[in-house]
């Protein structure tokens, strides 16, 4: 019997899967080609140049762990993972906004260097806003269904 509680459960889990898969798919090529990602980071011209390798190593791992936490199903870790990925996404949005404001033309690097060069602009920003909304849904409790 399908009722509101089940629909809500399905929606929350769909959001969790979408968020986790998005971040995992984003993280893996960046882990694979760390140097390429470091280059993309430098192109943003926001962080000190010497930090680009550290950032390139750490951010994708945080994305991966956050994605795993969301898929874990345990409310405690789902919430924590959502906060972590949410903070990351807010940071990405801020970065993109800064790039748009400064008129820098660069390749997003969001899905790694190998991915088709994706110019950073408003579409990228709105996509991340949608991701943030999905994270918000994914963070909802599923143990108690309301």
């Amino acid at each position: 019997m399908v009722d509101r509680a089940h629909v809500r459960l399905a929606i929350v889990w769909a959001a969790r899967i979408v968020v986790a898969v998005t971040f995992a798919v984003a993280a893996i090529p960046k882990i694979d080609d760390m140097l390429g990602f470091a280059e993309d980071i430098r192109a943003y011209q926001v962080f000190p140049v010497w930090s680009s390798h550290a950032i390139a190593a750490i951010v994708p791992m945080i994305e991966l762990v956050g994605a795993a936490a969301i898929l874990s199903g345990k409310d405690r870790w789902v919430r924590a993972g959502s906060v972590v990925l949410g903070v990351l996404t807010v940071a990405f949005i801020a970065l993109i906004a800064s790039v748009i404001a400064r008129g820098i033309d660069l390749d997003c690097g969001c899905f790694g260097k190998q991915a088709e060069a994706e110019a950073v602009g408003w579409p990228t920003l709105w996509r991340d806003v949608a991701l943030l909304a999905a994270i918000g849904v994914a963070a909802q409790r599923t143990r108690k269904l309301w």
């Binding site: 680009s52 390798h53 550290a54 750490i58 951010v59 791992m61 945080i62 762990v65 405690r76 924590a80």
Partner: protein, 172 residues
């Protein structure tokens, strides 16, 4: 769930990711932890920008007057393009003998006895001789550094300026 618990769990997840990232960075041992972007390619020969000739294929090399060479005697590599006999007789102190006749063979066998991190000055007998230019261009092409000059006036000018020379003792 309290805010404190959420903050703590968030910190745990974030730190776990950061630690994994640090480990992944350390695992790639050939990547420096904090690496500046690759700078401009280090110049092959010497550090004096004013020595740069530009295109190594130019049929001419910049000149250096005797006085300048005299001042820079220790910092440059000096190449004697004259015959071995002339070199043995008398040459600029510290010079290396690379006669114009032999330079092609030496370059072909890749046994140029020259360090590539210093400026190079080639000289021949006198102004108007092209041996030094020939040897200098060959060296420039072989090393590809664009840091080779020719001594203005050649060995004749060097001696005329009463600069020091080395050579076999001719008293006997």
């Amino acid at each position: 769930m309290t805010w404190f618990a959420l903050a703590r769990d968030t910190l745990i997840v974030g730190t776990a990711g950061a630690l994994l990232g640090v480990v992944s960075l350390a695992v790639r041992l050939d990547v420096p932890w904090l690496a500046p972007p690759p700078g401009p390619e280090p110049t092959a020969c010497g550090v004096d920008e004013s020595y740069a000739t530009g295109a190594p294929s130019a049929p001419e090399l910049p000149r250096i007057p005797v006085d300048d060479l005299g001042r820079r005697l220790d910092g440059v590599v000096i190449v004697d393009a004259r015959s071995a006999a002339a070199f043995a007789d008398s040459h600029i102190p510290g010079a290396i003998s690379l006669p114009a006749d032999d330079i092609d063979a030496i370059v072909a066998s890749q046994s140029l006895p020259l360090p590539i991190d210093r400026d190079i000055v080639a000289y021949c007998d006198r102004e108007g001789d092209i041996d030094a230019l020939y040897v200098g261009l060959a060296i420039d092409a072989a090393l590809g550094c664009g840091r080779v000059r020719v001594l203005d006036g050649g060995f004749t000018a060097w001696v005329a300026a009463k600069s020091p020379v080395e050579g076999i003792d001719r008293s006997g």
